[in-house]
């Protein structure tokens, strides 16, 4: 059997990959996809603990996280579309109205 540590470390690696992507990329859609990657790495942790503890709550949480991710995808992509319509770009360096 594989110890739960392997899944947790894979999940940590994927999460940090997403963090690096968010911090270094400037394309709004790619930042959005990095957030999806981070959500998925957390889902992997949930499912791993659910299986290793024999408790179904983790898989329930994954279900709800996926519902939230679907809502986030719809709203986020609508925001990107509205952004592109107004600024003709999705580069977040050029979107600085809220920057202080």
């Amino acid at each position: 059997m594989i110890p739960v540590h392997y899944y947790l470390i894979l999940s940590a690696v994927m999460f940090i990959t997403g963090v690096v992507g968010v911090l270094t990329r400037r394309n709004a859609i790619i930042i959005f996809m990095c957030i999806e990657l981070m959500l998925n790495s957390v889902n992997l942790t949930f499912v791993a603990f659910s299986s290793y503890l024999g408790n179904e709550a983790g898989q329930m949480f994954v279900f709800f996280v996926m519902a939230v991710a679907a809502a986030e995808a719809a709203v986020g992509l609508a925001i990107v579309l509205a952004l592109f319509r107004n600024k003709q770009t999705v580069n977040i360096n050029e979107v600085n109205i809220l920057k202080w």
Partner: protein
């Protein structure tokens, strides 16, 4: 008369061959091959269990496709690598006996959400970004450094060595096979978790209205 020693030799040879073979392969109770052990002494004999091979392949695909996702300049390539990552994750869910989550991962994530993302990318007709090596700056190094520090911290908290908090979770719970089935998940979802489930429908409705309003409106 002189043929007497021959069967003895054959028996010895057969036994020796069997013993030699058994050094490489161990069986489970049903007689299936469980793991291919190394010919080296037993401290690394269990390195190559078949479960571990599957895990390593899927984990490598997930990690490498995640890395490629954040390094591609073309957003379409990024999205395709993310889909590959999601499919590898679905395989990992199967190794964790979570069948329902694996199916939902393929249907909802790799199917619905990523199609939406690809659709928006194609709709916007984005050009490739400048390659990272041309735009790299001090803030990139700083973010990489702090992210790796965070990774080291997480690995430290997980505790690689024995005696750590997670040491009791060396193998999956016997209940894992049962709780991952669609039947059990559905049962729990519509009894114990029925209120959050209904709230999810309101959330999705709000998101749908929000998406329509945001994408439709022309801001001045």
């Amino acid at each position: 008369m002189n043929a007497m020693p021959k069967p003895v030799i054959r028996e010895d040879a057969a036994r020796a061959a069997e013993e030699f073979f058994h050094r490489f392969v161990t069986y489970d109770e049903q007689g299936y091959i469980r793991m291919i052990t190394s010919c080296y002494p037993s401290h690394i004999g269990e390195i190559l269990s078949s479960e571990l091979i599957v895990f390593i392949v899927l984990a490598a695909v997930a990690a490498i496709s995640g890395f490629l996702m954040i390094t591609r300049t073309n957003p379409v390539n990024s999205a395709l690598f993310l889909i590959l990552n999601f499919i590898a994750l679905a395989g990992l869910y199967l190794t964790l006996n979570a069948q329902f989550v694996a199916i939902i991962q393929i249907l909802v994530y790799a199917g619905a959400i990523m199609v939406l993302v690809l659709f928006v990318i194609m709709l916007l007709n984005l050009q490739d970004e400048a390659p990272l090596r041309e735009t790299i700056s001090k803030s990139h190094y700083a973010s990489l450094l702090f992210s790796l520090l965070a990774l080291a911290l997480i690995v430290q908290v997980i505790g690689w060595k024995s005696g750590a908090a997670l040491d009791t979770m060396r193998e999956q719970s016997p209940l894992a096979v049962q709780i991952g089935t669609v039947e059990h998940i559905g049962n729990t979802l519509f009894t114990q978790y029925v209120f959050p489930f209904e709230l999810t429908s309101i959330l999705l409705l709000a998101a749908m209205i929000g998406a329509v309003v945001l994408a439709k409106k022309r801001f001045p």
